[in-house]
Each structure stands twice: as structure tokens, then as C-alpha cells.
Symmetry: D2
Subunit: 467 residues, 4 copies
């Protein structure tokens, strides 16, 4: 099974040192991954720093040379515990015939296992578990044949199936490219003296860059301080943007492919009211991810909005030492219900999505303990029934609460008075893009690219497909 | 001038180990101080750990003995840069005739300088800059004469002028006491197998303790696993609770002296609308501290509430290394305006308070840059014109924006279209307590205790008073 | 019982920044204490840094102000595990009527418990367990009465019984003083632009300072960049220099009170041969402390000197984490015998001293395992039978191997073929000073100052004395 | 030019957990590299830990799984500053067709650049700068063709030119192999419940293992808890053991290929006296590396041996922070001359080798300043005139003092009264092996394997060879 991870990337090239802006960009993308952070900069060679932890913790105390560099890329990463080691942190750096290459990758190469096994049969050894090493090797492998890095990237893209938004430093040249379906976001910005790419527009905002446009699906761009050269995709036009970026993953103030995440979330709240109205006294968000949805719901419903659950901002990260399992912060520490607001009230609780259902169960119980007479859960994402193979870290199918269960079952399981999920149609409408321009794999089990054992959208499973 | 600092305290005694709950309590109070953290526990002697940083950073990797201890106190602290050193971190620990004493203190002893100088004249040497050492010495000094720790505390209280909410461990005995005016909060809770005191009720909530009551102003309590012995104040009844705890400092879900902070803030928003109505399209909070006020304002005004500024939760702490001044996160990194919401709109911006005005100026400018046609600032706290000497870390008088300025001046200075501060009467009404039960020193220049150079409420200045 | 510890001190005042030389001095004294290190410097106030660990680990990354300071003191410390905490690290800093005072102390105040209890009865609270706090308080207490720091130190010395070599910074004024018997070493040096004091002359050598002279027992000196003012002791002339500094503790290249430690150790080796000759093939030192003795012995005996035991220089410090007891380096890791040298040989093993005997027993066994046909242990210090109360960290009496045992018993216990200790007369002769000018408490149970339960040299025990 | 580095390796397989012994072994080899340390262990997958620093600093706080592992390898490393980064730390770990492989390597692959370039032309990308990655790839590349790891190693050895002593973990199988000339040491030991390989026999001694034998040049061994399977080299018998291991690099108590390093060094001292006698009063070693040579010299000469220079054991490692260049410990801090011994004396100073000459120059000056009337330098290694390309970290040719200079020139340059180097013949005699069994490249410019630009022993340069 592909390595599951979620990441953010930044790349900058300017006529002045880039480190300061690179760090600002990475801090703006920190929500995309808090497990490791890294940078690779060009100063007559690739200078690299990678570490386990937050940007503010591990990307400090740089030597002077880092402060001088005028081109660089950066990465933040989250991954499932098993493969959470420094060995897999990014950017990955390699050297080959034409020099050095560093690469920061958000997404998942779905056919990495196939490529890896094929090469292993030929006698290859892999120095990491990451699909980023696969990408580096694909590019390196084509370079002697193509003679140009752009052509090598293009040919490598022809071999890669999956999602990828990538910032790449080849010696001092900065490139960025995005998979042909544009599954993960990537956008382009302009600084007074250079250019920048980043996973989300908030990184541009934070460093005071001007948003220029999204990188087109399948496009390769080369950035220089002076300008941007685009190498558009050969053909196509098919798209499959990850709906979960809008629902939960991206920062609310990010615009992706022209649409503001916050607006989508508010609209999801409004649609939820339309689809699942309920008589109630209060609309209460699960902070922070349910706030925008809850405001939309409350406005549409005309029911007062109340912050009935207060989040402790200092336990968002567990800082757990090995063997200190018992110290893991409980839901009691993280979310505190306000009895004064909830007592005797019929409460609509709004969450952005429900994955395993454990947290929802505990929150519903806490809200009841605080005196709520009824607790109705409304969820801004359709039931998640299938894993993500394309760049969102999710548990495996048998850990989800929804598969094979009726909403009545789920309601009972979670202990709510009612549960209402947004419909797939409602979700698509809230996003405001054509149904076929979105990747809905985790909610409709149809994936935009072939995944072993899963159905390709509008088609058979890979196995059927190959048969 | 007294050392300025803000702090949180916890104390627990149970029949089972306390460390786990002590850390939960301190994490729940982390908003009261992020600069240093410490604990002192009893296990046949006082075991101490203090460090610069967050609870989750410095209170880890304890030796086995700490895990066994069944009584302990803890502290989180913020102070002005000058005295921000490990030497002044708390709890402070001392040994004297009857054993060991550790003390965690929130508040400021206003006559510490006087006491210090008097003792210095007599040949005393002080091992720290803290007023906590003054308190320890006062208690120790009376102990041989009184023979009882409670009497010694009582006599020490007779010498101390100022604010103090204190958890104190004398050998394995846990005590707590609060200054006669009850300036800083302190409450009592019950655990299944013991008792706990904490600066705010949220610490009790987080560890699953039941709130019992606030410690009465001037009261000394002794806590044991089995019960609580109260030593009520000799007389009095005068009160002076810090209004700023309700306005900004305490967590919104804390109840202090019977009143929920969140409710006060919402009510401040409603009062603000009554006092300073304005024709506008949107109510936008300065997150996070202005959210409750803004929701109250929007509700009262019937103007839509919009989260037009998004906070980057990962730059709340600067993690600044020495000499890295230039990396200090700017307002651009911390708060990102959403153009889609603000463009062409008449915006009411709600903040909890304005101290120096610099942040307000920058936020107003950012909101304008994002396209707002008008920006009206409403502030949930009257103009701050005088320093706090009693437990809130504030700059000195000449750094405030308000003293000696008209609101028109301030409006111009900040660059808003209008500025409206809540009135003192409006504030008092929102808190719902008698005017004379509050400390309003920073907004009316009348302090509940004598401060050199300042006016005592209902009286002359200390100098006049002593003359 | 007094806190047991061993320490080193440095103090420098120059017309240029002192930090660099202060750290060189402390590193040269690192053998005197590896547990904590600290400095206090004057730059319009006392700047302090203290930490657990080596100088090179904890005294780094100083802020700019430390680099500017032109007067400062430093300290390295070792103490028994129980009181090994940051709270007791030095220099200790205090403030009082005339300003700030920082103090670095080597030695032990024997009557500290008495002073402490007396003050505690009067209501004093102590902020640390150290006798340094006692000294600070004694000085502070006299200051208002004397009006001069020198007089206050002199009066404090009148109250202090024990050993002390002290560097003291009073605001920007540097002082040094030594107990009336000169028990611990302290010497004075000259830099191109200032003056320095240090526990051992090697600290002067390392920073390129010129040795001027030892501080006289009972003398107080004030150092300025320009000169040195001496305040000689009122009378006396009695001395009691710690013989163990020569035998083991000081660095071999240090000169103390006119005598080079290395020469004493070589002479001890020669005397050992005279007192305990033995027919043997090889003389083998226990490295590193027995090397000088062994060279002297081999030379006198005309028996070849061989390094038959090789030390692993990387396990000298255990770096043991809590709970990692099992990783503690064994004698096998620390000392490796060379079979090629030892096999079939009659070996004289030379150690500087034997305290508990455990290490000697293991080394003798290892040397036998490596094939030695005979192992004769020769010890450069008479049997240690009584604790040190005056500045050397030693176990308590019942942990020593020697008390109440004959040499035959000890020989059997250690498993050697013979054991020969240097005699007290031999030791005194090797040192080359009058018997009465040395402190021999740990080997003859007669102490130069009154110790509760012990005999004062030439007198009765304190109890008898007081009776 | 090949990456220059010096390293130590250990590998253990037992029926009980290996971590404890692995760490003991690495600490015993710490002198071979203090810059990075790492381990790879098998516990249903390769668990790895690598870090910059000493074993005792970076190999701590392991998770439980590491403590359970029963097979593992370890590495310590030193390299020239330029490539001193975590990215190049070892063991290196890779995965390929038959599972996982971790490898710890001491030595240098001389044709790595050639192999690297050839592969790069074919489109390969390298994830590190190390020759270890080259070795891993060579093995992986042959594995599909050979079907056996031993055959793959054998075929890989056929492509590798240079020095290598390697411990290799393939899944849970432990292998070790040594280059066909046996340039770097590697030996085999037995534990009560398993087997171990290590760079030097001292690692076996430290963990209480029994030395079995050296790994034969060109041999591959597989170790299991129960036994050792040897795959002897196909033919050959040529040898080229690094003479510098005996002269300086190995620990004195190590036996390599049957010869104790200490004995070689003593004998070098004796030969030095024979070759370069001098009338003098004292023989003084440069500690620690010149001690054994000096004892041999003194014995042969009948001149007294004196430790006239004392080393500060606490400045052996600089602990220098970035930008703290000025704190670098000087020779004054590291070595302190004892005037009492040196004054007015004719001194023979013995050092193991002279590379750049800077240190020698400073030491000679210090000894003169301490009063020596004459200083004669005797050096236990012939003049170093050519770089090491095979596993000893040395500067480049133009930094050596000796090339193109007469001994008279060098004497003047260093400021000695006379300088005497051991002759190559004397060196070979002291080692006691045939001249042709040693690698003498750095002293006679004839290398045992082809090095670009250098002469192969008994042959032409590679260029001539290929022409």
C-alpha cells in the first residue's frame, strides 16, 4: 500500500536571500504537516536541513551560507506513525550527471510499488521509503536521454500515476509541476524581486507576495527572479481536485483553483440545513474545523450560533515522549463544554467530517454531560467509506465508522439524537465545480487514477481494467 | 517599580500520584504564562523542576520519584523581558525551621520594594528578584513566633499589600490563599480522591475535577485528600476583582467569582453596539480575543458576523533565537484578511482591548488593503490609561496610546473611520458586579491598594496619604 | 552533615571582555567538578548563567551583553547525587542594600548547620541547600554595620568555620579570599590588562596569565584591572592545606603553595618503594591518577614501567540517562589490560589512593585474568579512615574499606598478593611541608577545625571541647 | 577526489538483545570517529538511528523495539568538514528485491568517482555523497543475477577498488567482509551466545567477547548466533595493511593481524633512538599519542622519561558552536608544559607523526618558553608526503610540511634543535611484517591500488597504466 502522508511545499527564487520568506511560507503551511520540516537552498551546491518537528523548532540556527542563498525549496510533512522517521523527511536531495536536484513533494504516486518492484527486479536499491525517491529516479533516468530537465520531468510524468504537486531545485534552477489531474493544489506568486510557488495561497499572503494564478494540471513551470516559463501539458483537460482540501485540509483563507475554502465551508453549512433541518436552540461548532460550516448552518437556519465548546490551544500537539502513552491529552483536555450555554438546550453540533467516529462519540457525550437536552450532529462531508490513496493521511477502510452502516446505525453508535451528513450532490454544489472535476474517491469509491483493488471513476477496477 | 508578570497556579493533594493531573492543570492555564513552567512535589522532601518554555516542553522526562508524589503545586509564568530568567521561575522553594516550603504565586506584592529595602537595611540578601521570595520570607519570619503555618501566613498577609493567589506546599501539606480584596482568581475543586486549587476553573474541568467554590478574598484553606479546612478572613468584605481577567486574560470558559468570562465578553459586545452603533455590512473579530465580543455585537446589531481575519495558529509563539530579531513574525504572518469577505464592505472590527495601538493600526490597514470601504473599530475595554501594578503584564504609561488623547485623536492615529470604546459603566454592567467590587485601576487610575505615585480608590495618592 | 562537594573557582577583571578567558579558566579546572558550571558577569548588573553539565556544554550561546562584560567569576562543581540539582549550582547571586553580589565557592563551611539552625530559629528561610547562601547572608548581614564590603567579609569570616576559597563579585568589584588555614588552594595571576584568581595555577597557564603568588590563608584581596589590594589576616599563621589536593585532586601540573603536584606524586612513588619494596617484573599504573606515582616507584625500584592498563577516554563520563542504570560503563569498558605485557609477570600495580576498594578489587582481578602471576598493590595515600568535611566529595565512613581492618585483611579483600600503603610520615615527607601545615583529617581522624563528632587536631572532639 | 573519512564498525548477532553490547563496542571505537554515530538493528525490519556527535550523546533514548533486537550493526565516523552532515552518516540503509540492507563501512572506495560517473551517464541519481551508497548499489545490482547475497557481495567486490572493512545486515542476517588487500582492520569475536565483528579487538575486550581471529583479506563471513561461515577469497594472498593504524590511529591496546599496536609504538621509539640518537637530559612525549614511542625511546636511550607536557582532557573536543570560531581551544589550553621539569634541560620531544607541522611548531615553542635549553624532536613515522586515499582523513598534499623539504628545512621551520624521523625501513622493522604486506602510500607515494594521478606500488601511475 502506498505510504500515506500529507504535505506542503514552497519554492522561491529571488535576487535577494530567500530563507526568511521560505520559512514564512512554511509556517503558513504548517497545518499541512507538523511532523517534519526541511529546506534545500542553492549556494554553489545544495545546502539542506531536515528535522523532526515544527518549522519553528527545527529550521533555526542556520549557518551563514543558508542566509545567503537566493533560491530554495521547503517542505512540511505529516505521515502515519510507521514511517515517521527522519530518513523519509523532505526535501530529498540527489546528485546525478547534470548536478544536484532537491525535490519537495505533496501527493502520492499510486504506482510507486509497481515501479519500485520493477526496478528492484533489475537490481536497484532504494535509500528511503518515499515515493519522492521514485520521482527523483524517474527524472534522473530520463535526463541522459532527453538532455533537458524539462523534458526529463515531462517523461517522468508519463510514468507516474497519482497525485503530485512538486517544487524542484536543479542546481540553482527552480521548477514546479502538478499532476495531469491537478489533484493537489499548487499556486504561483510574485515577489518584488522574484517568484514563488506554494501549496496554498496563504503562503503567498504571509510573505507579502502577489497571487498570480494556479499552476495548471499537468503544467511544468520554470521560475527565475525575472519571470516564469510555462511548459503546458500536452493535451487533456480532465481534472480531479481533492474535495477534502476544501472540506477540511486547506487553511480556510486559501483560494484553490479559484475558490475560497472558507466560502465552500459556509455553503456546506447552508446546504446541511437544507438537507437536514432540525428544530433546535443552538448551533455549536466543533472547533476549529467546524466553525465556518456552523456559521453557514446557523445563518441559514436562523438558529443562534454559540461557541459551546472551547478548545485548549496548547494541547493541539501532544509533545508525547516515548513510553509516555498515558500522558496523551484526552478529549477533556482539548475541548471544554460551556454548561451555561448548553444546559437544557437542543444543540446542533457541526463538524467538518467524521472519520473513525471516536472523537464525535466523545464530544456528543461531553455535550450531554454539560446538560444538553438533545444533540444533533451535522457533518459537512459525506460518509467516508474508502481510503485516500492520493495525498491525505487517513486510516484504512476497516477503521472508518461509515462503511456498511446506515445513518441510523451511526447515530446510535455515536450516541446522538440525529446525524445528518451532507450529500455528495450537496458537497459538489457547495464547491461549485463540475462533479467530474473533483476527486471523490473516499466518498464514492471511484478514483481518478488506477489504484490496485479500487474502481477507476467511470470504469472498472484496475484488475478488471487490466484483465 | 514592581516586577510585572502574569501567572497561573495549581495545587493538588490526593491519595494517588498527582503529577499527571498537575500537568493537565498547568496546560489548561498555559494562556496565563508561556515563558516558564515549574512544579514542586512532595516525596519525602520537595522535588522541583523549573524551566524556560511551555509546560509540554519543560515538564517532561521526570524521574520516578516525581511520578510517586501525592501532593504538589505548579506554576506557569509570563514576565517582561528584562527579568525573564530561570532564576525567577516558580515555584520557589525554601527551607526553614519547620521544614520545606514551596510556593506558586499569581499577583504582585505592591509594597515589595518597601519591604525589600527595609530588610536590606537590616542586612538581608535576596536570592531572586521575585516578590515570591518576599512572601516566603514573611511567612518564615513569623513562623517561630506563631508556631503554626496558618498563623504565619495570616501574619504575613498583614504585611503584604497587593494581589496574590497562592498555592503553597509546606512539607506535604497543601495550602492556598488569596489576597483580602480577591484581586486575582483562585478556585477550589474536588477530585475522586482529593482536592485541588487552581487559578481558573478550566483547570478543574480539564482534569475532570468538580468545581466546589471560589476561594474567598482573604481566606486561607488547607487541603488534604479527605477535606478542606477554611480559615476565613478576620473581617472586611471589600473586594476588587481584576476586570481584565473577564475582558481578556482568563480563558473564555472560566467561571470566576460566579461569572463566566465568555458571557461577560458577549455582553460587552452587546453594550458596545448600544453605546457606539454604526451602519455597517459586516462584524469582524480580531481573533481570537475579540470573537466573543464580536458575536455579541453582531447579534445585538443584526449585522452579519464574518471571520474576515484568519489567524495562523503556528506563529502564536515566536520561537525566536537570540540575535534573530529580524525573524519576528509580522502581523502579516499572524493575521490574514479574506478579501472575498471584506472587499467593498463597511466593516466593524471588534477587539477586546487596545493597549499600545500598534497592532490595531496594522490590522486596520490590512483590512483596508483587502478592500474594505470603511473600518470602524469597537473596543471591549475602556481606554487603558494607567499601568497595572497588580498582576497583569502591561507596558508603562508612556507606551499606551490612550492617555491624554481624545477618541478623535486615537481614531486618526489608528487610521479607522471611527473608534468606539466601551464606557466604564458599560463594562461594569457587562460584568454584572458592583462597581466597587472591581479593580479598575488601569482604566480609572484609582487602585484598590496604595501604589507609590498612584491614587488609592476613594482616596488620595499614597504620597498624599502618607503626608 | 555538611553538603559534600568539590569545586573550582575563577575570577577575572580586565579592561577588555573577560568571558573568553573565564571559560578557558573553567575548562582548565573542569577536573574539579563536572556536574554543573556557571558564570556571573558584570555589565551594569549581574548577568548569570548556570547549568548542569560540562563548561563546554552549558556555557555556550551567550547573549551579546555577556561578551561585553569586563569583570566576572565562574564555577565548576561536583557533589553527591542527592543534592545534585540546578538549584544548588553556582555562582550564587544575591541582591542587597549596596547592590548585587555573586559568589563562587570551593570548600565547605563546617558550622553551616549550626548557623542555619540558629537563623531558622529566628525566622529565616533558605533558598538553597548550599553553604554559599550562608556565606552570602553572613556578608550581607554585616554590611549595614560595617559600611565596607571588605569589613563585612572579614566579619563574616569570623563566623565561618571550615574551608573556603572564594571569588566574589560585588557589583563590578572583584574580591577573593581564603579561609584562615588555607585548606583549599587559591592563587593570583596577572594578565596583560588585568588580574585573575583561580583555584589552581593551571587555569592561569591556560589563559596565558602570569602566576603572581598564592592567596595567603586568611587574606582578602581586591582585584582591579590595574592592581591588587591585599587585606592580610589579622594574625595567625596556622595552616592546614588539604593533602589530597597533592595526592589526587589537583591537576598534576598545578603548583599550590609553592609545590608542584606532579613532583609530590613522583616522590610518593619513590617513598612507596622505600617503604614497601617488592620483587617484581613490571610497574603498572592505574591510569590516569597513578601514573606519576608509578613512574617514581619504577625509577626508584629499577623495575620497568609498563602501561599495562589502557583507559577508554570516551567513557570517563557516563552520560547516563535516568532509568538507564544498566548502561553504566563497567570497569571492563573503562580499563583494558594488555595481556602481552602482563602474562606471566609479577606486577606492581600503583594507584593514587583506595577509598571503597571496589575498583581496586576489580582491577586486580582483571590484571590476574590477563595472566599476571602476582599482583602487588601499592597505594600513594595512607588508608582513608575518616570522611572529609572540608571540600572533597567522599563517601561516608562505613563505605570505606580501611577502617578497622588490618592491611592483611585488606589484601585478602582486594585479592592482591600484597598491599602497601604509604605511611603518613612518608606522605608528609613527599609533600615537603611541616606535618602541622597539612589537613590530614581523612587519614588520621584529626581535623583542623571543629567538626561535630570528630576530634580537633591536637585536641578533644567538639563535644568534649564544648563540654 | 574521494571523500576522506575515518571510521569504526561493529556488528553483532546473538540470541539475546544486542543493543547494550553494540553501544559498548562503538564507545570502544570512538577514537576512530567522533563526528557521527549510528546503529541499524533488526526487529522485523531495520530500525535505524544516526546522529551528529558522540555515541554517548546521540545513541540514547531508544524506543523499546531497539532494545529487543538481536542483530545489529553500528558505526562511528569522522570526515573532513565539507561533507560533515547527517545526510552522510552511517549505517546507510536501503531496501531492494530481497528485503532491507544496512551497511557500516570503514575505508574508501578509490574508484567510486568512476563508478558514480558511469552510472550517472546511465541515468542514476545518488542520494548521498558516500561511497557506502556505491557499495550498496553494487551489491543490489548483482543480487537479481546471483540470487545469493554472498555471491552478490563477491561480485560487488570485483568492481570495487580500494579499502573496505564492512559490517552488513541483510534483513536479520549479519555479514562482514574485508577488501582483498586487508587495508583496514576487522576482527571476529565470540560472545557467550553469539558472534561479533569489529574494527579493532578493543571492542571485543570491552564487551567481554573472546577474540577469535582477524577477518582474512578478501574474505566474506556470515555470522549467526551459533556459528560463522567463511567464504574465503578466490585467490591472491597479496596484502597492504595500513601502517598508520599501528603508528597512530588504532587504540594502543588493539591487536591487528596478530600485532599489538602498543608494541609497535614502543619499538618505533627504540628504533628512533638507534637511528637518531641525541645527547639529552629528558625524554618527553607529546601526549597521548607519543607516550608509547617515548617510553621505548627512553628505555633504549637510558635517558629519563618525564611527562613534561600535561594534557587538558576536557578540551579534546571543541564543542564549538557556529560563529564561535574565536573560542577554538588553543594549544595553550590543550597542553601545559611543566617548567619544573623542563627548565634548563635538553629535551627530546617524541611525537607519533608530523602532518602539517603547525602543532609541532607550537609545542616546540612552548617547551622552549618553559625553559628547555634544547629541544630535539623525534617522530615515530617517516615524513608524510602524499595523501591517504584509503581511509585515513588527512589534508591534501600542499598542506603537508614535508614534501620537497629537507630535514634541515623542517627543523628550521619547526624551530627545533634537531628533528629525526624514523626511516621507512625502521618503521617496517618495528611493525614486524614484510614491507610488501603494508600500505605505505602516504610515505612512499606508492599505493597498493590504482589512484588517479598516483603511482601504483611496483607500477606506473594509473594514467600510465591505462595508457
Amino acid at each position: 500500500m502506498p505510504l500515506r502522508e500529507a504535505c506542503g511545499v514552497v519554492g522561491i527564487t529571488t535576487t535577494t536571500p530567500v530563507l526568511h520568506n521560505l520559512l514564512i511560507g512554511l509556517r503558513a503551511l504548517q497545518h499541512r504537516g507538523q511532523e517534519s520540516a526541511g529546506v534545500a537552498l542553492w549556494d554553489e551546491g545544495h545546502l539542506t536541513r531536515r528535522g523532526m518537528g515544527l518549522v519553528a523548532e527545527v529550521l533555526t540556527n542556520f549557518e551563514t551560507r543558508f542566509h545567503d542563498a537566493k533560491a530554495g525549496i521547503g517542505h512540511v510533512r505529516y505521515s502515519t506513525a510507521g514511517s515517521s522517521s527522519l530518513r523519509n523527511a523532505q526535501p530529498i536531495t540527489a546528485s546525478f550527471a547534470t548536478g544536484e536536484l532537491s525535490l519537495a513533494h505533496n501527493g502520492t504516486i499510486a504506482n510507486q510499488q509497481e515501479l519500485r518492484e520493477q526496478w528492484e527486479t533489475e537490481g536497484a536499491a532504494f535509500m528511503s521509503d518515499t515515493d519522492s525517491e521514485i520521482i527523483v529516479r524517474l527524472i534522473a533516468h530520463r535526463l541522459p536521454h532527453t538532455g533537458s530537465i524539462v523534458s526529463a520531468i515531462r517523461e517522468a510524468m508519463g510514468r507516474m500515476v497519482g497525485s503530485y504537486s512538486i517544487a524542484l531545485l536543479h542546481n540553482d534552477e527552480l521548477f514546479a509541476f502538478r499532476d495531469p489531474l491537478g489533484i493537489k493544489p499548487l499556486c504561483l506568486g510574485e515577489l518584488p524581486d522574484g517568484h514563488v510557488v506554494a501549496s496554498e495561497s496563504v503562503a503567498l499572503d504571509a510573505m507579502g507576495a502577489t497571487f498570480v494564478r494556479d499552476i495548471t494540471p499537468g503544467e511544468i513551470v520554470q521560475l527565475t527572479p525575472e519571470g516564469v516559463t510555462s511548459h503546458p501539458p500536452p493535451a487533456g483537460g480532465e481534472r480531479a481536485f481533492c474535495m477534502f482540501e476544501y472540506v477540511y485540509f486547506a487553511r480556510p483563507d486559501s483560494r484553490m483553483d479559484g475558490t475560497l475554502a472558507y466560502s465552500v465551508r459556509q455553503e456546506l453549512g447552508r446546504q446541511l440545513w437544507n438537507e437536514h433541518p432540525v428544530e433546535a436552540d443552538l448551533v455549536v461548532p466543533v472547533p476549529d474545523s467546524g466553525i465556518a460550516h456552523a456559521l453557514g448552518f446557523a445563518e441559514a437556519a436562523g438558529i443562534p450560533y454559540r461557541e459551546g465548546l472551547i478548545k485548549n490551544r496548547y494541547v493541539w500537539r501532544s509533545f508525547i515522549q516515548p513510553h509516555d502513552e498515558q500522558r496523551k491529552a484526552t478529549i477533556n483536555e482539548k475541548l471544554n463544554p460551556i454548561r451555561e450555554f448548553l444546559e437544557g438546550q437542543r444543540v446542533v453540533l457541526i463538524d467538518d467530517s467524521v472519520v473513525r467516529g471516536n472523537t464525535s462519540r466523545r464530544i456528543v457525550a461531553r455535550v450531554r454531560e454539560a446538560g444538553a437536552s438533545e444533540v444533533h450532529l451535522r457533518v459537512g462531508c459525506p460518509p467516508i467509506i474508502s481510503p485516500c490513496y492520493l495525498g491525505i493521511d487517513m486510516p484504512s477502510r476497516d477503521e472508518f465508522i461509515a462503511p456498511g452502516k446506515s445513518v441510523a446505525d451511526i447515530t446510535r453508535d455515536i450516541g446522538a439524537d440525529s446525524v445528518g451528513y451532507i450529500s455528495i450532490d450537496g458537497l459538489v454544489r457547495a464547491i461549485g465545480k463540475p462533479h467530474d472535476d473533483l476527486c471523490l474517491g473516499c466518498i464514492n469509491e471511484e478514483y481518478p487514477v488506477p489504484i490496485p483493488g479500487e474502481r477507476v471513476r467511470g470504469q472498472a477496477t484496475l484488475e478488471e481494467f487490466e484483465a
